[in-house]
Each structure stands twice: as C-alpha cells, then as structure tokens.
C-alpha cells in the first residue's frame, strides 16, 4: 500500500495492513502494551466538539485504553483534551517517549518492565514516521501498531489510508471487540 505521504517509503520492509481484528490479536498476545496519543486528534480552537469527528476519535481512544487497561502517553499538547474528560494520561514529548521505548532496560510507564507493543494515534504524520523508523531499527523488543487513518510503512502494522467515516468505524469496532473479549475473559475467570 502507498503510504499517506508517498515519500515515507524507507525500504523493502513495509508495515502489514492492519484491521480491528488483527489489532485485537496483537493486543491479546501483548503483556505490557502502551498507547501513544498525539495532537492531530485534538480539536482546533473554536471547534464545535459536539459534531467534530476528532472528539469522537478521542472518545474511542479513551474507551479502548480503558477496556484493555492500557497506560496512555499524550504527546505534543494532547494532554489537556483528555484532562478535560477526566482521563488520566502521562504527558511527554514524542521524541522523549520513543527514546525511552528503544531502551530495553527501561521499566515502562508503570515500572513493570519495557513495553512489548505500542499503539500510536494522532501523532503528526512525518514525526511519527521518523519515530517509528527509530523503533523499527533500534527496538527489536517491541511491536508498533498505528491506528491513524494514514498508512505508516515504518510501523510493524498500520491501519490503511481511509476516510474519517471508515476510521471511526474501525475504532468503534476495535472498542466493541475488546469489550466482548473482556467479557469473555471475565466469564472464563469466573468459571
């Protein structure tokens, strides 16, 4: 698939095209996932958040993180929009968190050990592409997955290029599937 910005092709290895089902499979395997959310999904000043698709995307992201208990890092100035919703995230720079992620010795956001899967959404396309390249080359210990509406060839797996409508659908599906999965797991545990 052609990357959203066509010139971000870096070499023969390209990300696998992901969909909600494949992301679920990867999440199921992961022991310590992390979610990185960037400023592209933050509403501009004066935006009517009741109709803006970005507000809906943020809401899906929060639900996904809650469903699967994934710690969230907000980068750029994304923190404040989540704070408004009472949703706790760790503010950092995208470069700062990528630098920590590439160190196999880092203990992770919760101090439980380095993360093994990182979900990205809403990071400025080209800076995300550079950060993903760093992780692709120098962080063999983790898997990167992008949930943006733009295909990111430097990730291990990436949603394809798609419209806002389809993007929202993908995220909704991911959220609902995680909820069902969670319920199943809880049922099994109870049994």
């Amino acid at each position: 698939m052609m990357p959203w910005q066509p010139t971000t092709i870096a070499g023969p290895k390209q990300a696998r095209v992901a969909n909600p089902e494949s992301v679920i499979r990867m999440l199921k395997k992961a022991k310590r996932p992390l979610f990185i959310i960037g400023p592209v999904i933050i509403c501009d000043e004066g935006c009517d958040e009741t109709v803006c698709h970005k507000a809906k995307i943020r809401s899906s992201c929060m639900d996904i993180a809650k469903e699967w208990d994934i710690p969230v890092v907000t980068v750029g100035h994304a923190f404040k929009s989540f704070l408004k919703e009472g949703f706790d995230t760790e503010p950092m720079g995208i470069i700062e968190i990528v630098n920590l992620l590439k160190d196999p010795e880092w203990k992770g956001l919760r101090g439980e050990g380095q993360h093994d899967l990182v979900l990205f959404i809403g990071v400025t396309y080209y800076i995300a592409s550079q950060g993903l390249s760093t992780l692709k080359h120098f962080a063999q210990h983790l898997v990167t997955v992008t949930l943006c509406k733009f295909f990111h060839p430097n990730a291990d797996a990436s949603f394809p290029n798609m419209s806002d409508k389809k993007w929202l659908k993908y995220l909704e599906k991911l959220k609902i599937s995680l909820r069902i999965l969670n319920q199943e797991i809880n049922t099994i545990r109870r049994v």
Binding site: W4, Q5, P6, T7, A10, G11, P12, K13, G38, P39, V75, G76, H77, F79, K80, L83, E90, P91, G93, I94, I95, E96, V98, N99, L100, K102, D103, W106, V123, T124, Y125, Y126, I127, Q130, G131, S133, T134, K136, H137, F138, Q140
Partner: protein
C-alpha cells in the same frame, strides 16, 4: 620540588614553546598578552575527550529516513537489522550522513566567507582594519577561543579560512566508504564540523560589518520595512536572493552613486535581504525563504540577482516564464548561463534586454551592480503589462478542473488542507485558500504532484495578494555582535539565573503551521524577561506578526541585550554572535581565559549560561551545522517537528542519575548533578511543547536559589498554561528548599513529598572537566 612548582615550570615551558611556534604570528596579536591556551587550531581529534563527555550525557538518537544506503557501487545495501557490504550498520550510517550534512552546511558557510572576503580584500585591501568600535574589544570571540589569535585586519581572516578548509577536508574524507565506523567518533567529527562552521560564520559577519560599515552592535538600530507590500511596483524592481551581501550591496551603492536611488526598488529575500538592509537601511526586505517562489511567480521583480545558499534551483526557469532577467553571481550556482564577467557591461545589458541570452553569470559584484540597475531601468516598462498571475475567475476555473486525487495534501510536507481549499475555490469561495496561503511556505510540492496540472502556487499567490494587500511590517536592522558593555551588565544575572535565559530564534521557515508561531513563542518569553535574540528567517518571521494594536514585536520591545529585550542580530552568519555572547560572558564576567581554551569555555557555558537555540523551521544542511556548532559550546537547541528528518538528535535521560554527576572543582568531590540542560538537541512536535520545554532547558547547575526560583516559576507557569498540568519532573530541579518558588510554595512542597524528594547540596564549581592532579581524589 613541590607539585605546584612543577606545574608552574610546566606552564612556563609550554608558554615558551607556544611563543616559538607562533613567533611569526605575534604581529597579529600585538596587543594581546593573554598566554596561549592548550588547543590552538585544534585538529580533528584534539577536542575528542570533551566531545565524548558531552556524548556520554547526551546520547545520539537516530531516526533513519531511509533503510538503505546507496553511496557506493556495493549498494544499495539494506541496513535494516543488517550491515552493509562495507561493514557499516544503521546507527553508524545515520551518524555518517549527519556528519556529511554538517560538512555540506559548513562548506556553504566557509565558501560564503571565502567569496565575501576575497571581494572585500579586492575592494578595501588586505590591511583594512577590523575595528568594531569603542564598545567592542573582543571582536572575534570564536576565533580567539578556537584559533588563539585575534584579527587586526581583513587579511588576517585568510589564515582562519585556510584552517577551516583543511579541517573540513579531513572531516569530509571520514565519510568515504570504509573509513570511520564508530558512532561516537562520527559524532565528535560532527561537533568539529560545527565548530568550523562557527568560525566561518564569524569571519563572514565580522568582515562584512567592518568593511561595509554595518551596525557594530549599537542598541536601538532603525526599523526596516518588511513584507510583500512594501515594494513600489511602479518602479523598476531588483530582487536579491540568497546569503552573500556583496552583489546586493554593490547594487545599492551603484544606485546611490548614480543618483538613482529613488528610481529603482532594491529588495531581497532570505539573508541577503537582511544584510543589504544592514548596509543600507532603506533597502526593503520581502521576507524569509518561504516567500521565494511566491514572489517570483508574482512577476514583480524585473531583475533577479541570486548569490548563494537557499536559492531555488529553478529560479531561472520560473523567471523566464514571466520575462524577468536573472543574474547569477557566484561559482556555487551558475545555472548554465554564459559567463559575462569579463564582457563590457553595456553589451551584456543589451544582450539581456534583447533576450539574446536568458541571463548572465557575472562573478564581479561591482559589475553586477551596474548591470542589474541598467537592465531593470530598461525592461521594467515593457514588463508592466505582462499579466502573470491568474485572476480570481481563472482561479475558480482551474479549481473546477480538479480531479480530486488529493495528491496535493498528501505531498504537502505539512498536509495543509489544499484539497478542501481547492474544492471551495471551485465554488468561488476563497477563505480556505487564503488560510493555506498564510501558513504555506511555497515549496511547490503540491503543484508538482497535482494530477490535473493546476498551478496551485500561482493560485495561492493570487488569492493571498488579492485579500492581503497590506503585507507591510517592520523588523529591526540586524545589529551584529553583542557589545562588551552589555555583556558586563547582564553577565552576572545570567550566570546566577536571575535573567532566566537567553533564547535565540534562528534558522529557516520549515514551520509546521506558519511563521506566526515563532513570534508567539518569542513574545511569551519577552513578557517573562528572558533575553530574546533572532537571526535570519526567524528574525523576519517575528517581524511579520502584528499584535491586536497592529504593531510588531520589534516596535513593542526594546532593542537591548537585557531582560525583556528583543535583538535582531542579523543574518544566518550572525548566529556566530549567539555563542560569541556566551563566550564573552565567560571571559568578561568570569574572567576565564579565552585564548585557545575551548574546553574550559564550553564547560563554563554548559554549566552556567542558560542559553538555548530554537530552530523551529530548520531545514538545510547549514542548519544541521549550526546546531552542531552551538552544541559543542554546550548550548542546547530545540528544532521543530521537521527537525526529526535530520535523522539525529542528542538526548539526555533524566531518569539516569549516573549520567548527571559533576565534578565540583572547588571541593574536589564528584557530586550528584541534575539534568540541566536535559537535552543538547531535541525535536518538539508543537509550539506548545517548545514553550513548555524552554524554561526547563535554560536551567543550569550553577543557578543561585533566587535564579532557580525564577526559572522554576516560569517552568511551572508555562507548563500549566500550554500542557495544562503541573510538570511531573519538577523534583529533579529542586536542589533544596531555597529553590522552591514562593508563588508555588504549597503546591511544590506537596509535590516534592509525593515524590519522596530529598534535599541535596548545590555544587560550588560544577564542571565536566577533569580535576587537576593536585585537586583530584
């Protein structure tokens, strides 16, 4: 003999040795009795130990743009998880390409210095004095510290450039296939390239200040007209693009000498514009690099004179489309044009007018002055009737032809919403196109990839020009170095942290959301009593913003190098005065010897001077060399999101306590330090991230409690304002209770308790330098 006695004797022997070695050069330094320091004209490996100290704190971070290497015929090699055929791996390859980038940037500045110096020596003679006036004794702080000499006359700079060229050759050779392979050694060489870049810039700016009579650091220099709207289009217009002032200065001089000043408009884009206006305050500045294609497309310029660096390589092609005449003036960019350097000037003018030649290469700046003016005077009338841009109806007509492929927004470096804007334009609505125009830097990538061949840049230019008729702003004239007398005033408050920082907005216009963000960042810190300086395109971007009252920051804030002052230092080469000011603080305030004493000066700057560079729109190889140059002095820099495409940053790890230890030279103890500055080169994603980071990156180990309180107050304020939360690493910067800002006492105390914080002593003389033998433990 006691240890002290041995040391004194060693010093004397060393001084005698140096005296002998430099005997032939004593004339140069006749009024300078400072003994020669340890590192005169350092070779590639002479400052390696200092570099390695920096690199142990600020580790290289690589972000490959490309997995492949195609630099030799063994390739292409895919370096993802593998070595290339020459044995290099991905991280060393990034270090190598960054070194290469810095060598290119340094070569550009060194060639610029060489071209200019040659011209000035031809014009003024070898012995033309370097005199920066009564208020500047330390005229060349970088040259003094690196070379160990001071310039008395223009000819003295030749030796400096010889040294620069020699070192640059060694550095470039290290990037050849199968040479250096270690990342730290690549990085040390990169620092070396940056240091050479600093020297070349200083040579360049000081020679032009001295020989062209530009401002010598005086406060309150005049305001210069800036903007697309400042040009009188009824007159013949000459546009200068690039960085070398010589052709533009000669054009201005020619119009003055011939009494033609009011007949011709001389204006410029990029750094040549700033420097021409330092030569003649009536020259007009169109704006930064981002205006280049747009202004050429507008067809306003009758004659376009290009010199070197940051010129579009398709200037000639674009100019021919609208019958403008192009004159190229340096060996860097000849564009295939006939060499008319030795041709009779009037013959060349007539050939240009009659279109017998598309343009001319003229390697004689004075002749450029004459030919450009004569040509502009004769062609401008005929050109007035040429219709160049589409009118608004045609813009709509073009937009209707859009086939909705969306390649415009996919190839726009910033994904600006060109597609949506074009759909609206097809309906006769231009507000979205205007919004894009205001943040667009006319790179032309959208137009190049448009599947319907729409002239998108011309459409944007038309809409912008139609709705924004009053693009008329003000910028201070570039005033060059900071005067010694100003350094005397601010040295102490800066070193003690009471002036919370010096922020230098430098570099190009590869901004993610337009130039206004630079002005907004600058104002935030001006209001908080930081010293703000600016150069080049960033200085222009600051001038292009007006507040609600319609005035620019240059009119609103004083032109002083002091708390809350805003100083335009000048062009890209004036960046040398940023580190120059820091070096002077070390020398004038702290009495540190400068002469060939690089490491001690850099160590002082790193630990005590809260300065930082912000190159939010850095794009070129010169920008990479500039950051490497200031970084080796211990000055951190923040680049914008596109700065990640330099592929290499230098990052500290605040969670690794070990890496922040310092030697307390007073007590002789190795003591716990702090992550200040936290990074040496960091890329921020947004303006908000930069603003929240600056106060932190200006913290220094040596701050007094009062100074630290001021810095922490700013850090908390701005973090809360822009990230909307209390900074979660604040405890790392509170040494003891005296550092706690009064206004935030309760909040900070509670936060410290939550982090299990323990007070520690601040070191008396923090340093990364080794203990001298008798002091060490």
């Amino acid at each position: 003999m006691t240890l002290k006695g041995i040391k004194e004797l060693q010093n004397e022997i060393w001084m005698i040795k140096n005296l002998k070695a430099n005997f032939g050069e004593l004339r140069l330094n006749r009024n300078w009795d400072e003994p020669m320091g340890p590192t005169s004209k350092p070779n590639v490996t002479d400052l390696r130990a200092w570099d390695f100290k920096l690199l142990s704190r600020f580790e290289p971070f690589y972000a490959p743009f490309c997995d492949m290497c195609c630099m030799c015929t063994f390739g292409k090699c895919d370096l993802l998880g593998k070595k290339g055929a020459c044995g290099i791996n991905a991280d060393a390859q990034q270090a190598r390409t960054f070194l290469l980038s810095c060598c290119i940037g340094t070569a550009a500045h060194t060639a610029h210095a060489h071209h200019l110096l040659k011209h000035l020596i031809e014009k003024k003679g070898e012995n033309f004095p370097i005199d920066l006036g009564m208020n500047i004794d330390i005229e060349a702080p970088i040259m003094r510290t690196v070379i160990g000499e001071k310039p008395g006359k223009l000819g003295d700079f030749r030796k400096v450039l010889d040294y620069c060229e020699e070192q640059l050759t060694y550095l470039l050779s290290a990037t050849h296939t199968g040479q250096e392979g270690n990342i730290l050694d690549f990085e040390s060489k990169t620092f070396h390239a940056g240091m050479i870049d600093e020297l070349s810039k200083e040579v360049c700016d000081i020679s032009q200040i001295a020989a062209y009579g530009m401002p010598k650091g005086e406060e309150d220099v005049p305001l210069i007209e800036l903007g697309l709207g400042v040009v009188d289009k009824e007159k013949p217009v000459i546009l200068c693009i690039g960085h070398n002032v010589a052709p533009g200065a000669e054009i201005v001089d020619y119009t003055n000498d011939k009494g033609l000043y009011n007949e011709v408009e001389v204006c410029g884009i990029c750094c040549s514009a700033i420097d021409i206006s330092r030569r003649d305050k009536n020259a007009k500045i169109i704006g930064p690099l981002s205006k280049q294609l747009e202004f050429i497309r507008s067809g306003i310029a009758d004659v376009i004179v290009v010199d070197e660096q940051c010129i579009r390589t398709d200037v000639l092609e674009e100019a021919l489309k609208n019958n403008s005449t192009v004159i190229v003036t340096t060996d860097n960019a000849c564009y295939g044009l006939p060499d008319r350097t030795n041709e009779d000037a009037d013959k060349t003018v007539s050939d240009l007018i009659e279109r017998r030649i598309d343009g001319a290469l003229i390697l004689d700046a004075e002749k450029v002055g004459e030919i450009a003016v004569k040509t502009a005077l004769r062609i401008s009338k005929d050109r007035r009737n040429i219709k160049i841009l589409p009118d608004l109806k045609e813009v709509t007509k073009y937009a209707e032809d859009c086939i909705k492929c969306r390649m415009c927004e996919r190839t726009c470096p910033n994904s600006f919403p060109v597609f949506d804007a074009i759909q609206d334009a097809g309906e006769g609505q231009f507000s979205k196109l205007l919004e894009v125009y205001e943040i667009c830097y006319s790179c032309g990538k959208c137009e190049e990839s448009c599947k319907a061949d729409l002239p998108l840049v011309s459409m944007l230019t038309k809409v912008g020009g139609h709705y924004l008729k009053n693009q008329n702003y003000r910028i201070r004239q570039g005033r060059g170095p900071i005067q010694d007398v100003e350094i005397r005033k601010v040295g102490r408050p800066i070193v003690f942290g009471e002036i919370p920082g010096i922020i230098a907005f430098v570099g190009c216009t590869n901004y993610p959301k337009g130039g206004e963000e630079i002005a907004k960042m600058a104002e935030e810190f001006l209001k908080r009593n930081y010293i703000v300086v600016a150069t080049g395109c960033s200085a222009m971007s600051i001038g292009e913003y007006k507040d609600k009252e319609g005035i620019t920051l240059y009119e609103k804030y004083e032109d002083v190098f002091g708390a809350g002052g805003l100083v335009n230092l000048g062009s890209c080469v004036s960046n040398a005065h940023v580190s120059g000011a820091c070096i002077k603080i070390a020398n004038i305030f702290a009495k540190k010897p400068l002469r060939a004493n690089y490491e001690e000066i850099a160590d002082y700057i790193l630990n005590r001077i809260g300065a930082c560079g912000v190159a939010f729109g850095a794009y070129s190889q010169k920008a990479s060399a500039i950051t490497a140059g200031i970084n080796r002095w211990g000055i951190p820099a923040i680049v914008g999101p596109h700065g990640t495409k330099f592929k290499r940053l230098l990052l500290g790890r605040k969670d690794k306590k070990e890496s922040w230890k310092v030697n307390d030279l007073r007590s002789g103890e190795v003591v716990e330090g702090e992550p200040s500055p936290e990074h040496l080169l960091y890329a921020a994603e947004t303006k908000e991230e930069v603003i929240a980071l600056i106060p932190k990156i200006c913290i220094r180990v040596n701050d007094t409690p009062k100074g630290r309180q001021t810095k922490l107050t700013n850090y908390i304020d701005l973090h809360q304002k822009y990230i909307e939360t209390f900074p979660n690493d604040l405890h790392l910067f509170v040494r003891n209770r005296n550092d706690i800002p009064i206004t935030y006492r309760k909040q900070v105390t509670e936060f410290l308790e939550s982090k299990g914080w323990k007070p520690k002593e601040a070191p008396f003389e923090p340093s990364l330098m080794d203990f001298k033998k008798e002091e060490g433990r």
